[in-house]
């Protein structure tokens, strides 16, 4: 499956004819559109697979919500236990590529690569609740809050090659932490899904009037291999609540992040 894409952000606004997508207490009514690369099941990629996940492809709203309450799929102890088999796998890879795993520069590489990979996917060890819980405050503020130019690094789930870029997100009404996006970005993921997961998590945690998330990233799988286009970037966005409904609000957001 090919990643697109130079997805113009306006394309994400698919014409859900008459669908109202107001956010009510974290429940979404009009969230019928799915990102190209994901399915209902995929939205729970961050979660342990609950048994009902198979049927949730028809109920994207429900499964997307579950990510808020997910269990960790991995713990610190799991990390230590899986290190030897990860290292063995990397040794096989080195041999398969024609290298000599015994030469000095490569001697401890399987272990280093395994630890690095665990770090790149450490989002599996974390939950939104842990990251956000203590830092939500009541504040009588109803103007736009923007946090922009958040550097993010992720792994492409199709080629296991890094993605990196910038992330802009914002919410109404409450101050939100950017650590939320740090958790999600550590998962190996598809950029469309990542954008949505961040937006949904913020919505569920803060119940704001609206959330907008824009990610602009460079995919090394396109730059280093395949089509090998150096300067191409992929832009994906998710607009929820008042950002989706009110063009003026959306415009303000997009102008402010471009400046």
């Amino acid at each position: 499956m090919d990643h697109s894409k130079q997805t113009q952000y306006s394309q994400n606004e698919k014409k859900d004819a008459g669908a109202s997508s107001s956010v009510l207490n974290g429940h979404f009514d009009g969230m019928a559109k799915r990102p190209a690369g994901g399915t209902g099941r995929a939205a729970t990629a961050a979660a342990a697979q609950p048994p009902g996940a198979e049927s949730s492809s028809h109920r994207p709203a429900a499964s997307v919500m579950e990510s808020w309450r997910e269990e960790r799929t991995r713990s610190v102890e799991d990390n230590e236990m899986s290190l030897p088999s990860l290292a063995a796998a990397y040794t096989t890879i080195l041999r398969g590529l024609g290298e000599d795993p015994q030469r000095q520069g490569l001697l401890k590489t399987p272990w280093r690569a395994a630890t690095a990979m665990q770090f790149f996917t450490k989002g599996y060890q974390e939950k939104i609740i842990d990251v956000l819980n203590d830092a939500i405050f009541d504040e009588d503020h109803d103007e736009m809050v923007i946090v922009k130019d958040i550097d993010m690094f992720s792994m492409c789930e199709h080629h296991l090659v890094p993605i990196f870029g910038r992330n802009y997100h914002r919410s109404y009404l409450f101050w939100c932490l950017e650590t939320a996006c740090f958790m999600f970005v550590r998962l190996s993921t598809v950029q469309e899904r990542l954008t949505k997961q961040i937006a949904v998590a913020i919505t569920e945690a803060l119940q704001p009037t609206g959330v907008g998330v824009v990610i602009e990233a460079t995919h090394m799988c396109m730059v280093m291999r395949g089509v090998q286009k150096m300067n191409s970037k992929t832009v994906t966005s998710t607009m929820l609540g008042v950002f989706r409904e009110d063009p003026k609000t959306r415009d303000e957001f997009l102008t402010l992040i471009r400046s």
């Binding site: 096989t92 890879i93 590529l97 590489t109 789930e157 890094p162």
Partner: protein
């Protein structure tokens, strides 16, 4: 490997020692024409290894997005290390010309992508190459191809720079070779110290570039201008 006379002393001075020369040859001679069956077998080994990795990381390897990922990742890895199968002789043989030119030739801002051999994580940046021809010039894109051959391997930036310089020196026997690589290492950016803006610069100066400060200055002025 015998080096051209004029360059021997500066090679020694710059520490292009036996080991670096051996590595330069050792790896390129390692893989001759690969056998088709062997290739397929190796690919499946790598694929199985990636499946193990994904499941050990806590992912569900049966989900739709990950179903063919081990195969794609294995092929991607093979592409990123295809330099092992290529030799300088293959690409350079036809493109060396006799030309009465002895001024500096620079090819700069060559995009470069490689894999750090310590973490198997990419590093990328730009290479700048210069040489002073000694009656022999090379097709310009061949300099970029030399960079490709050595960078598409598991590398250490220092060794990469040296290998590029010594390959050009051997093939062309010029009066001097200079290679500068400026790269960003994802292993430092995405993990570990996590410094976004740090970059690593390595250089190798051979022949006149090493002996003659003015020549070196000219090269640096022409390439490092932003």
């Amino acid at each position: 490997m015998l080096l051209p006379e004029g360059l021997t002393s500066s090679f020694k001075n710059r520490g292009l020692d036996q080991r670096a020369r051996m590595e330069y040859h050792h790896v390129s001679a390692k893989n001759g024409v690969a056998d088709e069956n062997q290739n397929a077998e190796k690919l499946s080994h790598i694929e199985k290894a990636y499946t193990t990795i994904l499941s050990e990381l806590g992912e569900d390897v049966k989900r739709e997005g990950l179903l063919r990922t081990p195969l794609r990742a294995a092929k991607a890895m093979q592409f990123l290390t295809k330099g092992y199968k290529e030799t300088i002789q293959d690409i350079l043989n036809d493109a060396i010309f006799d030309e009465n030119h002895e001024e500096m030739v620079i090819v700069k801002d060559i995009d470069l992508f490689s894999l750090c051999e310590h973490h198997l994580v990419p590093f990328f940046g730009k290479a700048h190459i210069a040489y002073l021809p000694n009656k022999k010039v090379v097709g310009l894109s061949k300099l970029a191809r030399i960079v490709e051959i050595y960078s598409r391997r598991l590398q250490v930036q220092e060794r990469l720079t040296k290998q590029i310089a010594s390959a050009i020196a051997e093939a062309l026997e010029p009066a001097g070779v200079a290679v500068v690589i400026e790269a960003v290492h994802m292993c430092m950016v995405m993990r570990g110290v996590q410094k976004m803006n740090a970059s690593t610069v390595t250089s190798v100066m051979l022949g006149s570039f090493n002996d003659n400060a003015e020549t070196r200055k000219e090269f640096l002025a022409l390439t490092m201008q932003k």
